[in-house]
């Protein structure tokens, strides 16, 4: 009689179930994985480790900060804010009406070059308080239509700038409709300075997002005209102002490339700008600025990165010093009873 009862005197200790004649061992297989013994490195925050990590950060960050700051300092930037100055004095109490009236809005500005500016000098316009990142605005475009002449009817996302006189607008949507239309002409010593507007947009945009055989149609034909008009004979992929404009800005204050000046400007040069002040930023109290800037390897002029690197590097250095002092003054020796008094409440966080 087989039995797994404990009372049998002959059976082995806890003899296995009698239905399983083959003693099938259930011993778990050994592997480093299943036994959770995989080789591992176990980093912990020892004072030495932390202090050296902080020191390392400061050693890396401070030079980066200095180099970035130098890069930023190298950049020469001329900024001219003109949205108020370009309104005739008598119209300044109602700027909106002025900007919406069909009068001539030419405005002359002169910029003085303080420091030698090496070419290429990038010309930007800077708008302020302009929400190109507004959801309604961002969505109001038709990528299909911009790419492919066959899709010009694909305007469902573009309302209310989808059709004019029953025909689809190409390019449709609020973004294209509100295209920036101030223009700048530069002269130096009465010599015109050419502005190169080729290559101011991203290559991928020109090649893949805006079609080579898509031409503006029916554009700005509605009663309410938003911004610039387009040359109906130039394909969209050549309309770089539009391409730049349609790559929407992330924040309400933004610059966009207007063109490049490909000659050096000397210190003391006076640049005259003949400016067509067409664009209405007055409704929403937006500023307008004209910016001329060189670039460094890091881009344009902004000290923030350099300062932030210096600050973080400095902070790390400071902290590493503090920790060193703590470590030296209050070393937490093994078994040192003094630290126990700190710990009335273990682990309380």
């Amino acid at each position: 009689m087989n039995s797994n009862s404990p009372s049998t005197s002959t059976g082995g200790p806890g003899s296995a179930d009698s239905t399983a004649p083959r003693r099938n061992s259930k011993r778990p297989k050994y592997s480093k994985f299943t036994q959770q013994e995989l080789p591992a490195c176990k980093p912990i925050l020892t004072p030495k480790w932390v202090i050296s990590a902080f020191l390392l950060v400061s050693i890396v960050f401070i030079p980066i900060g200095i180099v970035s700051l130098f890069a930023s300092q190298d950049v020469v930037e001329i900024i001219d804010r003109y949205e108020t100055d370009c309104i005739p004095l008598d119209s300044r109490n109602d700027k909106v009406r002025f900007i919406q009236s069909p009068v001539d809005k030419t405005c002359n500005r002169s910029l003085t070059v303080r420091k030698h500016m090496k070419q290429p000098i990038y010309v930007y316009y800077q708008l302020d308080n302009f929400y190109q990142n507004h959801r309604r605005y961002v969505k109001s475009r038709s990528d299909q239509q911009l790419r492919n002449p066959g899709n010009e009817d694909d305007t469902s996302a573009c309302k209310p700038e989808d059709t004019a006189h029953g025909m689809p607008i190409v390019p449709c949507g609020l973004i294209a409709w509100s295209l920036f239309n101030d223009t700048y002409d530069f002269t130096r010593n009465n010599q015109p300075v050419t502005i190169n507007k080729i290559g101011i947009s991203w290559k991928s945009d020109r090649d893949h997002k805006f079609g080579k055989n898509v031409y503006p149609k029916n554009f700005q034909n509605n009663t309410l005209v938003g911004g610039a008009r387009l040359d109906a004979n130039k394909s969209l992929s050549e309309q770089e102002d539009l391409i730049v404009w349609m790559r929407t800005a992330a924040l309400p204050t933004f610059r966009k490339l207007y063109g490049k000046i490909e000659v050096d400007l000397q210190a003391g040069d006076v640049i005259n700008v003949e400016l067509q002040n067409n664009y209405n930023t007055y409704s929403f109290n937006g500023k307008k600025k004209l910016v001329l800037s060189t670039t460094s390897w890091l881009g344009g002029k902004n000290d923030f990165l350099g300062i932030a690197y210096l600050a973080v590097g400095g902070l790390c250095f400071f902290l590493s010093m503090v920790f060193t002092i703590i470590y030296l003054v209050k070393p937490r020796k093994l078994g040192d009873p003094s630290y126990l008094s700190w710990n009335r409440n273990p682990g309380g966080r």
Partner: protein, 1188 residues
Amino acid sequence: MADRSKSRIRFSRLYSFLCLRSPFRDEHSQIGQKGFSRVVYCNEPDSTEQLQLRYRSNYVSTTKYNAFNFIPKSLFEQFRRVANIYFLVVACVSFSPLAPYTATSILFPLIVVIGATMAKEAVEDWRRRKQDIEANNRKVEVYDRNHNFQETRWKKLRVGDLVKVYKNEYFPADLLLLSSSYEDGICYVETMNLDGETNLKVKHALDVTASLHDDDSFQQFKAVMKCEDPNEDLYAFVGTLFYNGQRHPLSVQQILLRDSKLRNTDYVYGVVIFTGHDTKVMQNATDPPSKRSNIERKMDKIIYILFSTLILISFIGSFFFGIQTKNDIVGGKLKRWYLRPDKTTVFYDPKRAVLAAFFHFLTGLMLYGSLIPISLYVSIEIVKVLQSIFINQDQDMYYEDTDKPARARTSNLNEELGQVDTILSDKTGTLTCNSMEFVKCTIAGIAYGRGMTEVERALAKRKGKAVPDSGNTSSYVRGSSDRHTDSGKSIRGFNFRDERIMNGHWVNEPHADVIQKFFRVLALCHTAIPDVNQESGEISYEAESPDEAAFVIAARELGFEFFERTQTSISLHEFDHQSGRKIDRSYKLLHVLEFSSARKRMSVIVQNVENQLLLLCKGADSVMFERLSRNGRDFEATTRDHIKEYAEAGLRTLVVAYRELNEEEFRLWEEEFLQAQTSLNADRDAMVDAAAERIERNLILLGATAVEDKLQKGVPECIDKLAEAGIKMWVITGDKMETAINIGYACSLLRDDMKQIVVTLDSPEINDLERQGNKEAIAKASSASISKQISEGNSQISLSNGSSISFGLIIDGKSLSFALNKNLEDSFLDLAINCSSVICCRSTPKQKALVTRLVKRGIGKTTLAIGDGANDVGMLQEADIGVGISGVEGMQAVMSSDFSIAQFRFLERLLLVHGHWCYRRISMMICYFFYKNIAFGFTLFWFEAYASFSGKPAYNDWYMSFYNVFFTSLPVIALGVFDQDISARLCLKYPVLYKEGVQNVLFSWPLVLGWMLNGVISSMIIFFFTTNAVVNQAFRRDGHVVDYEVLGVMMYTCVVWTVNCQMAISINYFTWIQHFFIWGSIAFWYAFLVMYGAVSPIISTTAYQVLVETCAPSPFYWLVTLLVVVSSLLPYLSYRTLQIQFRPMIHDIIQRLRSEGSETEISGELSLGNKEKLALVEEKLIDRVNAT
């Protein structure tokens, strides 16, 4: 073993109650009515009548789903979670213009998450299905139309089929027993799968069918059976058999239940009554009560906090959005004309700004949805399943002897294992082996047995005495190898050494006749069944309890060898001291008065060859001494002393007594007894007990036995460790107080330096009252006494407050029942909590569950119950965690447990290692989950503030939806599965570490909120550093400025780096898996950008070539990433450094120890100095935690 001759024996009267055929009872009148409508045409499964009834087939499916309902049903299960409903609603709304991003990108993560969970369900269900297939395709012999028995698959069985089941086979369905290989149609079944009891039960065919012995006899067999409808009651059955024109009542005695096993019987014939899901075992199948862990409950609260945050920031957003939208037209003039506020949908309409704001609120809810970690639940489930696998696979919790590994039967409670505050433990079988050994006895006032028990040894050790080598005193338990060395002398269940009575020397003892009677009682008074090995002639016994087996074996070893049992007799080989030879003596068995926990005794009435009628009785001292006759108390005083000694040595004692009956008395009593047995009243059992009571008196004391239940290996060490870990231990046992206290000492639950507080009702006053028998007065006095003792205990503790004395509370069952009353409950609990260990002795299973509930409710902390027997089931289910010992007492406890281990000592590893790890992993994982989602979600919010809260997300739709699925989820899972703050070895070495879980320091509100704050800080650093660095100016040498696309990529890169690096600095354990997942996630982000950016701009929209063309060539992009990532890690790093320096957590200290000790460990042994240091710190650690 069942040879032919034996099978002809009519066994039916062996079990005294069985000799009585169940008469028609009241229920039988209901046959054919509602609830009793089942009709079975026996042996005619094909008859039209049977087929018309359309009973279910024997096909069994335990799966939750089938191919058709899987999708709807599992979907329904999924959407019972609040978070999932939220995401579903979001997904539905995402098809409307309200959605801030495309519907597919919202649906995708939801589908992945739901799909993963459903896949998990499907895999689990598939496993169940495989088991079903195995069961459905088992073979059984069925009687076919050609009057032969043919093998058929189980699933093809139909109601009415006649089947033949062989020894050790499972019954394929619920059967009506027709006949068996025994002439009288009995058979033995083992119901372990049903109720976990390993002892054999006897089933009994009707006399009219019992004669159908051959396959051929069924040719003409036809019968109709009417019975109750399928139900789940395992212990009742009502039916009627119409056979040969007569009605026969059927009871549960004739029913063989599916999933029980035929034992000790060559074969049985049966008719299928209930098939498939109609069987009792299937009707009984219910899901175990699901327990949820504390952490998960808290997690829900945190999710609610996140939901509130979500609503709050959406509201803030829509408030500002409303204002700005309203201002778009002022006095009929367009402000932000480029948005055409004059021609717009309601969502942006300045004239209906409030409505627009409301719709925007909905948009906001979707936009900031990434605050709610969509993949949290599924990640936690995956992690827990993997953790369970680790528990199951742990070799250190595998028990060689029974071939049983540890099993996590549920994965819900893994982390709860790390937070156990109180353990409630059974004693027998849990702390001890539950293999009984006969070690001592006292006969006629003389103590025999020279062995020393483990408890005695422990006591001696404590007193500093030299401990004799364990030698042959505990020869057996050490394992099988010992047995061979002892040249077969050591016998399981017998560890008695005394030359005075062994080998027949007892005849020379002064009370030889008493000794003879004593061992005769042991050899006769039991229900064991002998099993004679035909070849060797050795006899082994099959007994209901190990104690009983120990007695029979002891009797055999001392010359009273029980070798045969028939239904009417018991036969012994007895040593005859006159002839000096072994002679066979046969005793006529008249009645068995069975053991029950209420009666605490059992008796048999036998007639010996001299025609003497003898009542042989053994039982607990508490019930036996009061039943002694006046002239039977000769040795009472010495026996009592010996019993006390035995109890102190941790032995289980039984008093042995007998009585001679005269014919007349017996005849009268028998009549009464039979009447009681056949009565139909509900209190039949009480009547039977009362009848038994009447004959079990005027006994003559013979002596007492002492059986040792050995402590399991490693129990004291394990309990020591658990105590060090701050876990309180309650032992709840049925033993006597002395036994319990001594076991307490033996397993180091009680120590010398402890003060004992004993609460007992064993005082003279109470005893006096009891003698008077005034129940009310007893209750009142008892209650008052308990109350007084409890308050005394409390004042003792408060007096010693501040000193390091610890207390042990010992309370007996009677007192416990008073202490558990409403009015005393609280003070009792106070007392118990302040004691480091509590022993409840003499307690019933119900009290076990009650105490568990009291502790659970009273402390409000996690309780763990551990036990091995059916009597622990209540306790296991009541506790937060039930741990079953898969020992010898069947599977009942294991079946209702959450974890099962083979030995008590594995509890140490289960809690201190796996529990601690799982707790730490899960809590870190959840904290980190919230951190990463807040860090991400809040960058969206900051961006909104710069986009006039219009609801434009800062990132491309697909970056967002992959965030929780690809870029950040795998490292968290790796953390949840693999992280170890401290290695297993050190976890065991420093149990004090476990207190982190008990005090829940790793998932405390400050910590959780700290992580959330860290998330907000990270998001601010990411957003403001990035935007300020890139504002306006060119970010490349070629003069291009940062636009919406580039900013999104920059910020997102920073987010991915930050959360992954944050993970890297907060985990403690870097295997290649962590490295792979963390750095792989970051690398995958770039790879994703490249791939996604390479597809047509129609699909990739704002991500088109954004990395390759725009960002990667710009050093600025990389520098910003470096700056932001390092800066956003600084707060955490500095905080942790300071914390480790000034307020280290326990694991910090141990980690530091490890790293500082490691230098010496490499060179082999620790140097002495370091060892001392370690020991010192260990002490301090304990002191420190105790102080708090």
